[in-house]
């Protein structure tokens, strides 16, 4: 298995109940997985643990046979090769679209960077917006740039936290289709969080249903949602 998560346990410092309980789950390379659950069920927390933004109390995470975290090891977020698209995008306001995307391309030469920026901008269909600043873009456009920025360094795992939540309904449908295509083209193993069935059905190969920090169901999207 490409990604192995076993027995993950976590509690926020000021919370009195555990936020994540014995989370165990494996993902194969190239799979798109959706974590589905109600608000407060711990979806974002799982992503933060995978990214290294939080440290689990117990459990291990391995990516491509490398231990990211266990009792003795903690790989810093910047060393994990995990990309993330945040719920509010977090595009750096003082940098243009191009600078935002180049930001993560640290190990490339100048010309390589240029090529890569064009590649990912093409992928998300935003080539002509290269020199805009984030606040000069619409919500949907910002979202695409955030996606492009996360994909650009070729992460081994891409995390998306409610990628559609800030968009209105029409746009959601269109971007959903686009995202599916983009993820397929890029061939990146991805996990995205949602509380919308349609999202899971449309994009995910596999769905994990989370309730109060515990997995209650795992399976193919159409199986999970077929009975209700």
């Amino acid at each position: 298995m490409y990604i192995k998560i076993s027995n993950l346990n976590f509690k926020y410092k000021n919370a009195d109940k555990p936020t994540i309980l014995d989370f165990t789950f494996n993902i194969s390379k190239g799979e798109v997985v959706s974590i589905f659950g109600q608000s407060g069920s711990g979806k974002s927390t799982i992503l933060r643990l995978l990214a290294g933004l939080e440290t689990p109390k117990k459990g291990t995470i391995e990516i491509d046979d490398k231990v990211m975290v266990d009792d003795n090891v903690f790989v810093l977020p910047e060393k994990r090769g995990v990309g993330m698209v945040f719920q509010d995008y977090a595009l750096f306001p003082h940098m243009t679209v191009e600078e935002n995307i180049k930001f993560g391309l640290t190990k490339m030469s100048k010309s390589e960077k240029k090529i890569r920026v064009d590649e990912v901008l093409n992928l998300v269909g935003m080539k002509e917006f290269k020199s805009r600043y984030p606040h000069e873009l619409s919500g949907g456009q910002q979202q695409r740039i955030a996606l492009a920025r996360a994909i650009a360094p070729k992460p081994s795992l891409l995390l998306l936290d409610e990628p559609f939540s800030n968009l209105d309904a029409d746009l959601q449908w269109k971007i959903r289709q686009d995202l599916k295509e983009i993820l397929e083209k890029a061939g990146i193993t991805s996990i995205f969080v949602t509380h919308d069935k349609e999202d899971s059905l449309a994009i995910a190969d596999k769905v994990v249903v989370l309730e109060k920090g515990e997995i209650i169901k795992i399976g193919k999207a159409n199986q999970i949602f077929k009975d209700n």
Partner: protein, 569 residues
């Protein structure tokens, strides 16, 4: 049940010492923060230990006869000064926020200007205006037959001190309450209006109660400033604690009693801080969301327009304009005598020590604020507390602590230094400006820290986390992402600290090296030697530099307010 519990406890202890956590927690930011924090608390710990020393022969006398005086003097001035600054600061803040009247735009920032006037400067200037040879009495004598009652014109007493302190310290309340009101929603006031309340009733029933935390915060700052004040009280001959600490230490050479007095002041300070916490109520400054409709000022009509302008003019006049004009006049009388190479030296000294200390403070503030934001735990909460503690400690107390600390260091390192070089002297650090700058840093770190912390608060953690996931380390993230975004906060912090250090007196007087003068010490020395006119130019320079910086600060803040693109959760 019990067994399960204790088992769980044991496991938690093991969790605390995981190898991975030690590895990930030791980095440049944590180590440097730790070192700085230790340096900050060492002098205070050192002096606290000395409280255990035997009392000197003076102490019973001080305790019996003088202490009660110190307490009454300090308490009276604190009570009245606090009350008056509260009334003036709050009313002005509301006036400027809610109404438009002639010159209201100008007053919005110029009412902050009295902050540029050091209390001792205001003190001797008003004394100079009012005394027998001053402009008022001279004018009356020459043009009328009025023979004034001298006691009415004597400002060098409790009432005068309260008058002066109110005029130069109300801006603390004004600034904090105004920026609090600017963040409140217009709905609040309009609802009250719709319910048929008059503007007056709205102010007392709605505005005052919601602004309580801000008012209490501002007044606490005023009180701490009064406790810190030395120059004004010494010049007026009023024995407050700060003055008493100096006298006992330098007049009686009784360090142990000075330390005891300092300890009493610290108890008072802690009580005030506690009281502040209680009076603020449960809610602290509430950061309402960015999408509020701020209160729109409405045009005042008729006589009210004039009264509003008049009120602001009177405060601005007494707090800034009148003393400045008087000083300008004296400056014209004395510039030939005063402005020389030596004077340029004082100016250079002032700018040099102030800049060095301010830069150090800003750097330390950034270091600790960034570390505290990345690692939110008990340790960093303690760090934050310690960082801002210095601002509540009066200068006289810090001066005692720092000087003893440095003399102790010098004595303890003498042998080592002797071994390295034969001509090292016993006193080394304690006769250098390092000591003064160190004391400035402890005393004013809190001001820089608050400003920079609020800058970090504003941008949130989202950008930081995004940058980490794009492969940047904490340090690289800081330089590429955080630093450009908190620039306005850094500028504000720098300016606020700079102004405070430029006019600082008690620390500079005690801890300066031999023959080292700043604008502040020189102004004070002249005034104390009954050469008020000669004190004018140094005073004016302090006022002008500070006023210019307040102007820049105001521009910087209103720019930051408009640019809300950086807002993130």
């Amino acid at each position: 049940m019990f067994i399960i519990k204790s088992y769980k406890h044991k496991k938690d202890v093991n969790d605390l010492f995981k190898l991975r956590d030690i590895k990930t927690n030791v980095n440049m930011w944590s180590v440097l923060s730790f070192v700085v924090i230790v340096l900050i608390i060492l002098p205070t710990l050192n002096i606290s230990l000395k409280l255990l020393n035997e009392t000197s022969e003076n102490w019973p006398h001080i305790k019996e006869y003088l202490l009660i005086d110190y307490i009454i003097n300090t308490a009276t001035i604190v009570a009245f000064g606090g009350a008056f600054t509260m009334i003036i600061g709050t009313s002005l803040a509301w006036l400027i926020t809610a109404f438009k009247f002639p010159m209201s735009k100008f007053f919005k920032w110029s009412l902050l200007l009295p902050l540029a006037v050091p209390p001792y400067v205001a003190g001797f200037t008003y004394h100079g205006i009012l005394n027998y040879t001053g402009v008022i009495q001279t004018f009356l004598r020459n043009n009328t037959n009025i023979n004034v009652n001298q006691s009415l014109f004597n400002i060098m007493n409790h009432k005068g001190a309260i008058f002066i302190l109110t005029l130069v310290l109300y801006p603390y309340v004004f600034a904090i309450v105004r920026s609090f009101l600017a963040k409140q929603s217009a709905d609040l006031i309009e609802n009250s209006r719709v319910l048929g309340k008059s503007p007056m009733a709205t102010f007392f029933k709605v505005v005052l109660p919601i602004s309580r935390p801000a008012i209490v915060g501002g007044v606490s700052l005023v009180i701490l400033e009064i406790l810190n004040e030395y120059g004004l009280f010494n010049y007026f001959g009023i024995s407050t604690f700060s003055v008493a600490i100096f006298r006992t230490w330098f007049g009686l050479s009784d360090l142990d009693s000075a330390i005891r007095l300092a300890a009493i002041v610290m108890i008072m300070v802690l009580m005030i801080l506690l009281l502040e916490k209680l009076m603020r109520g449960r809610k602290r400054y509430s950061y309402t969301s960015s999408k509020i409709r701020p209160i729109q000022p409405i045009e005042l009509k008729g006589i009210k327009r004039i009264l509003a302008t008049l009120y602001c003019s009177v405060i601005f006049g007494f707090g800034f304009l009148i003393p400045t004009i008087q000083l300008l006049h004296w400056a014209l009388l004395t510039y030939r005598e005063i402005l020389n190479v030596k004077f340029l030296g004082y100016l250079y000294n002032s700018l040099r020590v102030t800049t060095i200390a301010t830069v150090i403070i800003v750097v330390i503030s950034i270091l600790i604020a960034n570390y505290a934001r990345i690692k939110e735990n008990i340790l960093t909460k303690i760090y934050t507390r310690i960082t801002i503690l210095g601002y509540s400690i009066p200068g006289a107390v810090i001066a005692v602590a720092v000087m003893i600390f440095f003399i102790d260091i010098d004595n303890n390192t003498y042998v080592i230094r002797q071994a390295i070089s034969h001509n090292s002297t016993r006193l080394f650090l304690s006769t250098s400006l390092v000591m003064l700058i160190f004391a400035y840093v402890i005393r004013f770190l809190g001001i820089g820290y608050n400003s920079i912390e609020s800058g970090f608060d504003k941008i949130g953690k989202g950008y930081f986390e995004a940058s980490r996931l794009l492969g940047m380390s904490v340090t690289k993230t800081f330089f590429k992402v955080d630093l450009p975004m908190i620039k306005p906060a850094i500028i504000s912090g720098f300016i606020l600290v700079f102004i405070d250090i430029l006019k600082e007196l008690p620390l500079t007087m005690i801890l300066r090296t031999f023959n080292f003068h700043t604008l502040a010490t020189k102004a004070y020395q002249y005034a104390n030697d009954e050469m008020i006119h000669q004190a004018a130019i140094s005073s004016l320079l302090i006022i002008f530099i500070s006023a210019a910086m307040i102007f820049v600060l105001n521009m910087n803040m209103s720019k930051g307010g408009r640019k809300n693109v950086y807002k993130n959760k």
